[in-house]
Symmetry: C2
Subunit: 343 residues, 2 copies
């Protein structure tokens, strides 16, 4: 892959000047340095404990139940230590929350590493709507009840949610910052190694490419200086590319699926292939911001296999069919082949 | 006020270099230029219509009902036109949503201009909790019902919500970007002028001080360049200070309350006074990020009046008393004096 694929000249008038190689492969030292110089989240021991129990439970009881790590929602990059301002990556968490439901329905145990307050499996149907939650309620004979208009559908969703909870099939782990995400990902990955090929990584979170190192974080809200110009200049470091490390050592036996989100269709396949070349993992699911709810493309390393599009028909879109009802069975098929070849 | 209050030297090694005068008073031309060179949100006509109807309704029917504009939640600054990345200001919207409830209980009609998906009055009690919404439900005799553990409290909240809705006392208007916020604020302010002194501005939203002008927004997700350094540099313009314009011309007869959020207690009062000096409005409510849920300070222009602290006792904090139960009655008292002096 040539570095000359990127032809546009640097432009000092451009609002964002992202002077960074597209895929800076993390050197061991970059990553080691990252984890040495940035502080683990205070709850990391607790996360380790609950994740280990969850994986061990399914290893012991599940008779070989497959386990998927679904990451979901966008990470933040705090610009101050007492965070007032931060840079965020767009994501409501729809892809992750919806995918988790389909994995559960297909017999997987799901570790759901998600941005706090982003959409969750099942409750997503009733949060983040323009309706207020209380709009689903009504008074019947002086009692507060679920409005009969909604109760049947809600009851179905509730049953699925309750089944997942009763069978200990869904572990919810929240993050907010990119730092919390990276420490959590490393911890969970190493633990998933316990189930080897039966582990599936489904990395749908929108992870920032940049961060402010702990050492550069100002303690208090930045105070303005008396100077001309009136500009805010934010200067961020690149996040080491941990995906390579996942493949190489944290979880070498697991199947790794990542997402590539672009807004320009003409470069989507190229970018997906570049990610595969560089990280040497198994599957990239490409999608465009504008059409991500109705079409995605599977790109694999096998040069004999053309990129495969999965699309909802207009009729299906109209009916509210989830594109994840096509994606998840296809990913599971790839995972089953992977398991066959690795057992 | 001396510009020399800010003594720290510019530091090029600091992650954020906010080379901007603390209170750049917007010139007419700055603001006019802002609204000329940035695009109004597509829904602005609809916002105008529903706000006008709401205000007119309370002017006609309300026999002098007071109207408060509560702004709530943080604004975003998109870094791309097809937004993937944006800068956000921290705010769940707790202050705004809680305050709106207390205004409603005190007879105000409330225009709630809020960040989409931030907390809303009443539903706030059940969203953004660590519990899933479905955890409030249970099956009783094969029917989905509200869990008796929660039903009494939820019923009380529902009644208040329903009363506000039935009496058309609460208008919910969402925004996401700082641009949408500014256009909406201008539109609503001009309309609130219809009720003159009976209008109260309660500006609790966390509004970005900086933005990327429309003309500088890249159309697509920024692609990386092949250069050394691996840095992301974001270069933002200052947002014109619209508060002065609110006072001077959009809504000259209304009472304007703004918030000042800091993390360093030693500069809180000074900053609040600076805002009053500069914008010539009536009341600044100062608060610290760390203690904002248990104490605030009222700072007014009258030099004879000392800053007044409102604090919850430890016992009240323990019981979950809202600090807004102290703030709102105090603000209303200021507003009532204002009305007396302006009628």
């Amino acid at each position: 892959m040539s570095k000359n694929l990127h032809t546009s000249a640097p432009d000092t008038d451009t609002a964002i000047d992202r002077n960074v190689p597209e895929f800076p492969v993390a050197q061991d030292s970059d990553e080691q340095n990252y984890f040495k110089t940035n502080q683990p989240p205070s709850y990391l021991d607790q996360l380790h404990k609950s994740t280990k129990e969850f994986i061990q439970f399914h290893k012991d009881q599940g008779k070989g139940r497959k386990v998927v790590l679904v990451t979901s929602g966008g990470t933040t990059v705090p610009l101050e230590n007492n965070t007032v301002r931060f840079i965020d990556n767009f994501s409501a968490g729809t892809r992750g929350a919806t995918s988790a439901e389909y994995f559960l329905e297909n017999g997987y145990a799901v570790i759901f590493l998600h941005r706090e307050f982003s959409l969750l499996p099942y409750s997503r149907h009733y949060s983040h709507t323009t309706n207020c939650f209380l709009d689903y309620m009504t008074e019947i004979n002086g009692e507060l009840r679920i409005d009969p208009k909604y109760s049947e559908t809600m009851h179905k969703v509730y049953k699925k949610y309750n089944d997942a909870r009763d069978q200990n099939l869904l572990l919810l782990l929240p993050f907010t910052t990119v730092n919390q995400y990276l420490f959590s990902l490393r911890e969970i990955s190493k633990l998933l190694n316990l189930v080897g090929g039966r582990a599936l990584f489904y990395l749908a979170a929108a992870v920032s490419d940049f961060f402010l190192p702990h050492s550069k974080l100002p303690e208090h809200k930045i105070q303005a200086q008396d100077h001309n110009g009136g500009k805010l200049v934010v200067n961020l470091d690149p996040v080491p590319k941990f995906l390579r490390r996942l493949v190489d050592s944290w979880a070498p036996g697991s199947l790794i699926t990542s997402f590539k989100l672009e807004t320009d269709k003409s470069i989507l396949i190229k970018k997906s292939n570049q990610a595969l070349d560089r990280y040497n993992h198994q599957l990239v699911i490409g999608n465009l911001l504008q059409t991500r709810k109705k079409e995605v493309v599977f790109v694999t390393k096998d040069p004999k296999i053309e990129p495969e599009w999965f699309r909802l028909s207009d009729e299906e879109v109209e009916k509210g069919v989830d594109i994840e009802s096509l994606i998840i069975p296809a990913v599971i098929k790839v995972h089953e082949d992977w398991i066959k070849n690795h057992e």
